[in-house]
Point group: D2
Chain length 346, copies 4
C-alpha cells in the first residue's frame, strides 16, 4: 500500500483527493493535513465522510510527514509548497504539488503573475509538469510533480494535437473557459455566496488570469515557439465542471479528416480522453465525478477557424484525479488504478 499524506486536505480539491484515495485499492491516507482545522475530526469538517474517515486533522509539518508517507500531496495556496520543500523531504517522499509553485519554468514569470517571491527556485528545473497524457515518461522518474491547473489541463488537452501538428496558427488562439464554483475554493468570501453566484454568469481575471502563462508555456513547447494567447475564465452557477471553448485560425487547406486524425493519433489510446464524434460537443455533466476529458471540435468553412471544445470535472481531472493519476505513474501502477469512475449523472 502506498502511504499518502495530504497537506491542505480540507479544501475542495483536498477533500476530493480524500474521496479518490479512499476508493483507491493500493493507497491509504496517513496524514490529513489542514492548518485551519488542526485537531478537528475530519468527518466534522466534511460530513459526507462521517463514519468513513476516523482521523483528526494534523498540521503541515512536511518534515515529519515525509517520514511517514511515500507520497505527499500539497493542495495548498500558492507559495506554501515552495516554502516547505527541501532535499531531505524529496529524498524520502514523492511530492505532488497541486499549487502553481513548480508549474512554470521561468521563475520571473511565476513571480510576476502570482505576485509572490518563489522560496525554492532551485527545485523548479527538476519538477515535472504532471500532465500525464503529454509527459508520462518524465513523470515516472520524477521526485517532484507540478500538478497542472484545472483550466490549463482542459485548455491544453483540447488544443495540444492541433498545435503540435501545426494545424492551426498558435498565435491566433483564444480560449473562452467556464468553470463551476468549486474552483473558487472554500474560503468564506462574499463573491462566492450562493445568492451572489446563483442565477448569474460573469467573466473574471480578463486578460490577467494566472493560468494564462501556464497554458502559453505548455502550448509553446508543442508549437516549438513562444506564443501569446487570450484566456478568459467565467464563473458558472454549478458546483463542478470546466468547459473550454477554444478558437484558432486553421492553417490553409486543413481538413476535418486531418484534424480528426491528429486527435486520434495523440489520444486514440488514452483511457481518460474521449474524442467525441462529429457534431457532438462536450458537456460538463457527462464527465462529472470522473477523470475523463471529453473533446469535440467543429471546423468553420466560412471563417477558416476551428472551434475546439473540452470538458473536465475541475476537481477530478482538473486537480485530485490527475494527482492520483500522477501517483499511479510514480509508483508504477496502471495509470487508471482507482480512477475507473463512471461519471455521475444527473
Amino acid at each position: 500500500m502506498i502511504k499518502a499524506g495530504i497537506i491542505g486536505s480540507t479544501g475542495y480539491a483536498g477533500q476530493e483527493l480524500v474521496r479518490l484515495l479512499l476508493q483507491h485499492p493500493q493507497a491509504e491516507i496517513v496524514w490529513y493535513g489542514s492548518r485551519s482545522y488542526v485537531d478537528h475530526k475530519y468527518e466534522e469538517v466534511y460530513r459526507n465522510m462521517f463514519r468513513i474517515v476516523d482521523s483528526r486533522c494534523l498540521d503541515d509539518n512536511m518534515e515529519e510527514l515525509s517520514k511517514q508517507a511515500d507520497v505527499i500531496f500539497t493542495a495548498t495556496p500558492q507559495g506554501l509548497c515552495a516554502s516547505l520543500v527541501n532535499e531531505e523531504i524529496l529524498n524520502r517522499a514523492k511530492i505532488i504539488d497541486l499549487s502553481a509553485d513548480f508549474r512554470i519554468k521561468d521563475v520571473k514569470v511565476y513571480e510576476k503573475w502570482y505576485g509572490i517571491l518563489h522560496k525554492s527556485p532551485e527545485y523548479i528545473p527538476e519538477a515535472v509538469y504532471g500532465l500525464c497524457e503529454i509527459n508520462r515518461e518524465d513523470i515516472r522518474k520524477a521526485r517532484l510533480i507540478a500538478n497542472p491547473g484545472c483550466y490549463t489541463t482542459c485548455s491544453i488537452l483540447t488544443l495540444y494535437p492541433l498545435v503540435k501538428e501545426k494545424l492551426v496558427n498558435p498565435h491566433s488562439i483564444i480560449i473562452d473557459a467556464k468553470s463551476g464554483t468549486s474552483g473558487a475554493g472554500r474560503g468564506a468570501k462574499l463573491p462566492n455566496l450562493f445568492c451572489e453566484v446563483n442565477e448569474s454568469i460573469k467573466a473574471y481575471g480578463v486578460t490577467s488570469h494566472r493560468h494564462t502563462p501556464e497554458i502559453e508555456e505548455q502550448l509553446g513547447y508543442a508549437a516549438g515557439e513562444e506564443i501569446r494567447i487570450n484566456f478568459t475564465p467565467h464563473l458558472v452557477p454549478m458546483n463542478r465542471g470546466i468547459l473550454a471553448t477554444a478558437y484558432a485560425d486553421l492553417k490553409p487547406g486543413v481538413t476535418e479528416e486531418q484534424v480528426r486524425a491528429a486527435y486520434e493519433a495523440y489520444y486514440g489510446q488514452e483511457y481518460f480522453i474521449r474524442l467525441l464524434g462529429s457534431g457532438v460537443y462536450p458537456e460538463t455533466r457527462w464527465v462529472e465525478g470522473s477523470n475523463f476529458v471529453d473533446i469535440g471540435f467543429q471546423l468553420d468553412e466560412r471563417t477558416h477557424r476551428i472551434v475546439a471544445l473540452g470538458a473536465i470535472d475541475n476537481l477530478v481531472k482538473g486537480a485530485a484525479g490527475q494527482a492520483v493519476q500522477n501517483m499511479n505513474l510514480l509508483f508504477g501502477l496502471p495509470e487508471n488504478t482507482g480512477l475507473q469512475l463512471v461519471p455521475v449523472f444527473p
Copy 2:
C-alpha cells in the same frame, strides 16, 4: 458473475442502476432494456457512458431475458412488471421490481391509489418488501422483491425504531418530505423544465401521494396496528436527494436517551445507516452518490413532540442502490458489495 438484466434502463433510476452495476465486482449487465430507445446505442442516450457501455438498447421481452439473466431489474412505470411476470420467469431469474407493483399487500389499496388494475395479484403474497435493514432475512429467500419507493425508504427508516419501540404515538405522524427533481423522471413534461423548477419550491400530491399507503403499511407492521399518517412531498430545485422531516407525539416520559438507545439498537450495526450526533441534522449533500441514510432527531420539550429527520440519495438508497443491496442479499454476497461509495461533494 451475476448476470443482470434491466428493463427500463434509460430512466434516471435505470441509468443509476447501470452506473452501480458497472462498478460492482460481481455483476455484469447482459440486457439494457428500453422500450423508447430500442436499437439505440446506450452511450448515445446517456453520454456519460460513452466508451464505457458498448451495448444497444433492447426491448422488454422478459421471457427471453429471464433465460439470459440471473436477476432482472424492472425500473419501469407502474403496472408493467405485474403484466409481464409469470411462473416460468420467476423460476429462471430473480426479479427486483423498482415499481410499486408488489409493494402493497392489499391489492385493493394498490388499485385505488394507483388507479390501475393489478395484472398478477397472485404474486403479491410471496413478494418481499425489499427494505433490507428491516426485512433482510426474508429477502435472502425471495424470488420477487418489491424494491421500496424513494420517499418511503427515507420515511420508514427515519421513523421505524420510534414506532417499533412505541416511543411515539403512530397516529400522530406527519411526514414533510422534500425531493430533488430526478424523482420526477426523465419524461419531457412542461412542469419539469429547468425554468419551471429552478428558483421555486412547491408541494404536490398533498394528502394524495401514492407513497402514503406504502409508508402506512410498513409502519403499521412496526406499530402492530393500522395507522393513518400525513405525507406531503415537495419538489426542490436540485438534481438528487430526499429529506424527510417527520413529526410525532412522544409517549409520556420518553427521554432523549431512550430515543437514542432505540436507534442504536436497530441501526447501530447497519453499514448504510448513519445515526448523527446530538444537534446534528441530515443534509442531502452529505449522502449524494452513496447508499447511506443519514438520520438525526430532536426532542421538543415544549410541545412533547419529536422531530426526526432522514436524508438519502433518491436514486441510490431510494432506488438503484437499494436494488443492488437486495441483489447482494439474494445472491449471498456481503450486503455492501459494490456499494461502498463515498458520497460526492460538492
Copy 3:
C-alpha cells in the same frame, strides 16, 4: 414626498427596500445607511444600482437621520434599533424596524430566544406588530412598527383564519417551512457559500428557531390562549421565496366549505393575499418579486387534519415590501402604492 432613511441598506433586505422605494411614486431615499460601507458608493456595493443610485453610504446616526427623514427603516441585526431609539427620534420620525427588537411583547421571551439584553424595553408596549392585514388600524396610528419576520409573515397569514375561527386545534399546529438563501443574509460565512448550499436541502434551528415565539404570540392572540407549536425551517437552493406547509387537527365536523368561507371572510378583500382555488397549492415562483401571499389548503378526511400552505417572497412580503406597506399605512396612502408589482417569472 415621504423622505425615507434606511439603516442597514446594504443587506439583502435593505437593498430590496432601496429597489422598492426607488419605484415608489411618493417616497424618496435620503439616507443610505451602512456601517460596513460608510463612504462607499452604493452603486459599487450593488451594481444593479449603477447609474440609478448616485449616493454614498452613511453611518447609522439615527439622531441626525431623524432630522432629515419622515420615516426610518432599520434593516439591521437584532439589538441595534433597540439601542438607538429614543423619545426625540420617535417624535421626529416614524420608525419601521425590520429586526425582531419590538416584535415580542414579553421582553423575557425576547431575551431568552435572542440571547441579548433588550436596551429599550420601555418602547415595546407602544410598538405595533406590522402585519398589515391583521393590525391595519393600529399601524396607522403608530410611531414604532415592528415589521414581522419572513417566516412569521408567511406562517401566520397561512393559519390565521383557521385559528381565529377555531376551525383547528391550535395546539396541534406544526409548521414546516422552506426558505431561499437570501434569508440567510449577505454575511461571508462558509455555510452560505454556493457550493455548500447548492444541490442540497437541510433543516436548521430545529425546535429552536427564533421565529417560533413570534408565531406563537401572534397566533395565540388569534386563538385567545397561549399556544406552543412546532416550527422547522429549511434552507433551499434558490435565491428567494418562502413556502410554509402547515398541519393542524381539524375541529370535529369542519368542512372544506367552512374553511374556504373563513379564508374568504378574512382575506377576500385583501389586495396582497391571493386565495388559490381547490386543488391548487402555492409555489414560490409565482410570487417572486412581488408583495403577494399565495395561500392554498387541503383537508384530509383520512386523518382529520388540514394542510394549509402559503408562499411569499421573503425579501418583499417577508421584509421590504411589508415595510413599504406599513409606510403606506403610516402616511395615509393607499396600501398598495408602489407595490403593484407583477411577479417576475421565470
Copy 4:
C-alpha cells in the same frame, strides 16, 4: 392608451411582454393570443398572473386583432408572422415581430439559415431592424419592426462602436455567448428538463446558430463591408441572462482612451446602456428584470486584442423590453416609458 395585442403570449417572451405591458402607464393588452391555450384562462397558464390578468387566451387571428389593436406583437415561431401579415393589417396596426422573419434583408440568407420558405418577402424591405439605440429614427416611422434576437442585441451593442469607429478588424471578431435557459423556450423537450440543464454547461449550434447572419449583417453595416464572424452560444443553468464575451484584433495603435471615447460617443446619452468603469465587467445578475445593457471591455497589450463584454436580460432587452422600447418609439412616447425597471437582485 395604446391597445396592444400579443400573438404568442404564453411563451416565455410573450409572458414577459405581458408583465411589462401590465406595468406600462400608457398601454393595455386587448388580446392574449396563444394557439396552444385557446380558451384557457391566462392566469391558469401563468399563475404569477393570478388575479392580475382576467382574460382567456385567443387564437392568432391577426386580421381580427388588427381591428382591435394599435400594435401587434408576434412572439411566435419563425414563419408565422410572415405567413399572416398583409397590407390591410399593416395599414390598421403597427407590427412588432419578435421572430426572425423580417430581420434579415437577404431572403436567401434567411431561407438558408432557417430552413423555411419566406411567405411574404415583399415586406422585408420596409421592415426596420428594431435595435433602438442604432436605428431610432427609422423605427419611429415604420409600420413593421423586426425586433432583434437576444444574442444579437447583446452582441451587436457590445461591439458596435468598435466596428463603426474602425478600432478593430471586423473580420477577426469572435463572440462567445452564454444564455440562461429561458432562451430555449417553454416547449416540453428532454434537453430542457431541469436535471439535464442543471449542473452543466454546454455549447450548441457551434458555427451554425441562426443568430450568426443577423449579427454579421448588422455589424457589416457598421463596418461598411461584409464580414464573417464566429459566434458560439452556450447554455447556462440559470433562468435569465445573456453574457457575450467578444474578441477582436485591435487596429495598430488603438488605446484604451480611444476605445472608451468611442463607447461614450455612441452610448453616453443612452438610458439603457450602462458603460462600466475600467476593470469592471458585466454580470448578468446586475441587469436581471431590467432593460439595461451593461458593457465593459479590456485591452490586452500582450496580444493586441480587445475583450468586450456585454450583459442583458434575454427576456427584457433581448425580447419583450426591447419590443416595448420599439412601441414607445412608434407611438412617440419617451423611450423608457414603462421600462424604468430597477434590476432585481438577488
